[in-house]
């Protein structure tokens, strides 16, 4: 798509302190005459006929385009209808306005041009934006808010560009909340203030400061990105770095020469608004040149050559080339005197990604020209190398299931036994707190400051986890710098007294079996009907059959249900009172190992050689899928929360209930009843 940045006026009713437009000597005419406007649509038509598969975006910009008045937009729509009868379906209009002049009179003509979403900008900090020489931001703000109400009444969406200045740096979250509280349906974009020369030196920021500003917001955005989906540059960086998208803004695309044109009120043409502001890449006027001719302007060859030059010089080997391309060439020219340099704002991107993005997001997904996993590995101690606490606290960012957490507790105990003075900080997360509180290796639980050092517990992303036969516990041991093979000892940093109310409530029989069918992964669950068949067989044997798990799990009929009635700590304690536990690869499987209680474990997509314990009876289902590791084994964690696509052929439903029943009976035959131990009274 070709884009025309269309500036039919450079007049503005605001006096934003950092804006160049209002300080320039006005061109003549200040507003594009209607004859030129009509010519503009003729040129668009001409271009779209020459390129019959292309579209053209017209970005109404300024100055303040609403100063043109509603009639101007009405005339534009008329010209479009008249001059582009066959091509108007391929013209997309958008507009950037400060909105303070918006009235209901604009609604119909803007809609006629197909505009449903208006880009705007706002500044909560006083006296940076406003009308008149005194920058009356109070009046400006009132008009802006009134305009938002009108926009919503008229069915327009709107977005906001926020310009980050020195004054913003002290309050990034406050500004973020302010702007998101306005509930823009369009994009909220944070741009750095770009000031060349000595003007407004008190507002200037460095790329590092801009990166820190973004970095203060990013972890919050990342956690809640479904809530704030359209915040830039976070959304596009996430799409580029994690999803492989290559939809880049003009600054980063390396392609602006092929698709961007700037058109001013006097008909003059150039590359973009900033190039025009600084008199760069002048391409003549609309009166003598078609858009195809402008895009073929030989001056633009230099910009295309820039891509090749930078890859061999300043950007050589940069792993972010594909998403940056050296940044804005106009920036480079203004600060370095030539287009054949990278922009100084490259630094902010690199700094932001490396300092904030990667530690927050799973680094494994970041594209890199280095071998994969480098970013992860560089943060971790090497095998056998103790964690270095001398440079400040090391934070554990716990992720994974509750069973994984029991393994981490064991690994940490061993780490602490080797080095009692070294204690970790734990990132506060509701799910994990009850496990770690009281652990001798944990000094504090809280929220890490920017720049904190992390160890992440995502062992499934560790390169060694792909080695055949590598056990999860051993990978965790490596992550925490223990020599491997390490003894696999789970550890509970809390006492487990029996809960009298719970113990009295359960209708104990001589021998009792605990069923734990739940799992966070639907792929690891066996069908409820099979569990009910098993419960029926066990009940016929005269066994007490109890089900435990979360309140949201499905109840297995025929069992005594404790669903939702136990905390995780109570569940661990309770489990030791059963003669046999029947479970899938879940928290209960690990918890049974804590007490060495006999367990029958049903394995489907995961592997007992990786997670299981030797005293347990493991039943492995036949996997119908091709992945030898199992669909959610190493390299398959992305599917963990998704249900199995095999439907009724899913591996977990291939179990023969009679075989499971036999396994329970065998374990019971080897186990003394606990009923005589009087633990349950």
């Amino acid at each position: 798509m070709a884009t025309v940045i269309f500036k039919p006026t450079e007049a503005c009713n605001s006096r934003c302190v950092y804006c160049d437009v209002v300080r320039k000597k006005p061109r003549a005419p200040a507003t594009m005459p209607l004859e030129t406007l009509e010519l503009f649509f003729r040129r668009i038509n001409e271009y779209l006929i020459e390129h019959d598969r292309r579209q053209m975006e017209v970005l109404w910009h300024g100055g303040e385009p609403l100063l043109l008045g509603p009639d101007y937009f009405r005339r534009a729509a008329e010209f479009q209808n008249r001059r582009c009868p066959a091509t108007r379906g391929r013209i997309r209009h958008s507009i950037q306005s400060n909105l303070t002049l918006f009235s209901k009179d604009f609604a119909a003509p803007l809609k006629e041009l197909g505009i449903r979403d208006i880009g705007s900008s706002y500044e909560p900090i006083e006296n940076l934006r406003g009308g008149g020489p005194g920058l009356d931001s109070a009046a400006y703000n009132r008009k802006f808010m009134e305009a938002l109400r009108l926009l919503e009444e008229e069915g327009f969406d709107w977005g906001i560009v926020y310009v980050v200045t020195k004054l913003s740096l002290a309050q990034p979250m406050k500004i973020f909340h302010f702007l998101t509280n306005l509930s823009p349906k369009g994009v909220l974009r944070f741009n750095p203030v770009v000031l060349n020369g000595e003007r407004c030196a008190e507002l200037k920021i460095t790329p590092e400061e801009y990166a820190d500003f973004l970095g203060a917001i990013f972890p919050h955005w990342w956690r809640r990105r479904n809530e704030y989906p359209s915040v830039e540059p976070f959304r596009s960086l996430t799409a580029s770095l994690l999803e492989g998208s290559r939809r880049l803004v003009c600054n980063d695309s390396g392609q602006c020469a092929t698709n961007h044109i700037n058109l001013l009120a006097d008909g003059s043409l150039s590359l973009c608004g900033r190039a025009a502001d600084w008199g760069l890449l002048d391409s003549g006027t609309i009166f003598e040149k078609s858009f195809s001719q402008v895009l073929a302007d030989p001056q633009r060859d230099l910009l295309m050559r820039r891509n090749a030059v930078l890859q061999e010089t300043e950007c050589k080997g940069c792993r972010f080339w594909d998403i940056c391309h050296g940044g804005c060439p106009v920036d480079a020219c203004l600060t370095r005197g030539s287009f054949l340099h990278k922009s100084q704002w490259c630094l902010d991107k690199k700094e932001f990604i490396e300092k904030y993005f990667e530690p927050t997001v799973r680094a494994a997904s970041v594209p890199t020209r280095e071998p994969a996993r480098r970013a992860v590995a560089s943060r971790l101690p090497k095998e056998g190398e103790e964690t270095d606490f001398s440079a400040g606290p090391v934070w554990i960012s716990p992720i994974g299931g509750l069973g994984d957490t029991l393994m981490i507790l064991g690994v940490l105990k061993q780490v602490h036994d080797r080095n009692p003075s070294g204690r970790f900080h734990l990132v506060a997360r509701t799910k994990y707190r009850p496990f770690f509180e009281g652990h001798p290796a944990i000094a504090a639980i809280g929220h890490p400051p920017p720049g904190a050092r992390f160890i992440s517990t995502d062992y499934w992303n560790h390169p060694s986890f792909r080695q055949p036969g590598m056990r999860a516990y051993q990978v965790l041991a490596r992550i925490f710098g223990l020599p491997t093979p390490a003894e696999e000892r789970l550890y509970l940093p809390w006492e487990c007294p029996d809960q009298p109310l719970l113990m009295k409530r359960i209708p104990w029989k001589d021998r009792n079996v605990l069923l734990c069918p739940g799992s966070d992964s639907p792929r690891k669950r066996m069908s409820i009907e099979k569990w009910e068949s098993l419960a029926g067989l066990l009940e016929k044997d005269g066994l007490g059959v109890v089900q435990a798990g979360r309140a949201t799990e499905r109840c297995v009929r025929g069992t005594y249900s404790l669903l939702g009635l136990t905390s995780v700590r109570e569940m661990v304690g309770l489990l030791r009172r059963f003669d046999v536990v029947v479970t899938t690869d879940n928290f209960a499987m690990h918890a049974a190992h804590v007490w060495k209680r006999p367990a029958v474990v049903l394995w489907g997509p995961t592997d007992p050689r990786v997670y299981g314990y030797s005293e347990q009876a493991h039943l492995q289902a036949q996997r119908p899928c091709e992945n030898a590791w199992g669909c959610i084994g190493p390299a398959g964690s992305a599917d963990y929360h998704a249900d199995c696509p095999k439907g009724r052929e899913r591996c977990m439903d291939t179990f023969d209930v009679a075989a499971v029943h036999r396994a329970v009976r065998e374990l019971l035959g080897n186990t003394d009843s606990l009923s005589g131990v009087n633990l349950r009274s």
Partner: protein, 289 residues
């Protein structure tokens, strides 16, 4: 205009002055509830619910079995003694009842939790006086995330169910304090935007006739726009993490006490957590099981 719901005192003469509206009728003792229902029906208005403004604690209110089909909001100063209340529990559970307790009183936050745990719906009346925001946050967590079946507690249940990250949510309606839905009327038929303004005689109209013919009364629109004014004035509430589910309701005290920010920011997190859980798992068992 679309008529809002009128919250008016029990006065058959007042109710007969208009017809075809939805009304909430306020009474001061349970014996009058049935009369209020009858008066609303006789006047040709639709009864939305009856508010019982009780001076005595919940345990001392005598409810008759004849109230079981009447939507009833009880505003009581406290729960009273649980040992007394427990004797009436079966009867209370048969009613279509929600108990509103002011959260400036020690014990009422616990009281709401107790009511919820025994299956009685409650509503925390927040902001009238000193508020223990941390205790409220605990109550909110219980209301929204506790998996053990319990009755709903407002406004948390409404926020958790209706929170949309892309929009702001005004939950004032659960306490009849949302001028786009509820207007308050006195015995003379004068209309105010809120109960407090009614008590302070700050009326927006002297009569119902002053409301007709307008898409939205200017005072109502101005009140609904009050939030945007806080942005224009750069009020601290505008940059609060909990704004979207608070809308500056506690702006008067927010300067000295930012406890409301912690509560509503946590409320948003809890709402998202619950919505995420509901999208993955089946509904928890309803109450009573």
């Amino acid at each position: 205009m679309n008529l809002p719901i009128f919250v008016c005192p029990f006065d058959p003469t007042l109710l007969r002055r208009f017809t075809g509206a939805a009304v909430v009728v306020r009474v001061d003792r349970p014996a009058r509830v049935a009369d209020a229902v009858a008066a609303a029906e006789d006047s040709g208005n639709a009864l939305f619910c009856v508010i019982l403004d009780s001076a005595c604690p919940l345990d001392q209110i005598e409810f008759g079995d004849d109230l079981k089909d009447t939507p009833l909001a009880v505003r009581a100063p406290s729960l009273g003694k649980f040992r007394n209340l427990v004797r009436h529990l079966d009867r209370l559970k048969r009613l279509d009842l929600r108990v509103h307790l002011p959260c400036d009183r020690a014990g009422n936050i616990t009281g709401l939790r107790i009511l919820s745990s025994v299956g009685l719906r409650g509503c925390a009346v927040i902001g009238n006086g000193k508020t223990d925001w941390e205790a409220l946050a605990d109550l909110m967590t219980y209301a929204v995330l506790e998996p053990v079946p319990h009755a709903s507690i407002e406004p948390f249940a409404t926020i958790a169910a209706r929170y949309d990250p892309q929009a702001c949510l005004d939950w004032g309606g659960v306490q009849f304090e949302d001028p786009s839905r509820f207007l308050h009327m006195d015995r003379q038929g004068r209309i105010a935007l809120s109960r407090r303004e009614l008590e302070e005689s700050k009326f927006i109209a002297q009569d119902l006739s002053e409301l007709s013919g307008q898409a939205q009364h200017p005072a109502v629109r101005e009140r609904l726009d009050a939030g945007r004014r806080m942005f224009a004035e750069n009020h601290p509430c505008a940059s609060c993490a909990g704004w979207k589910v608070c809308l500056g309701k506690f702006a008067a005290t927010a300067a000295e006490d930012r406890g409301c920010e912690a509560l509503f920011a946590e409320m948003i997190a809890a709402a998202l957590q619950r919505q995420a859980a509901k999208s993955c798992d089946p509904e928890p068992k309803p109450w009573p099981p």
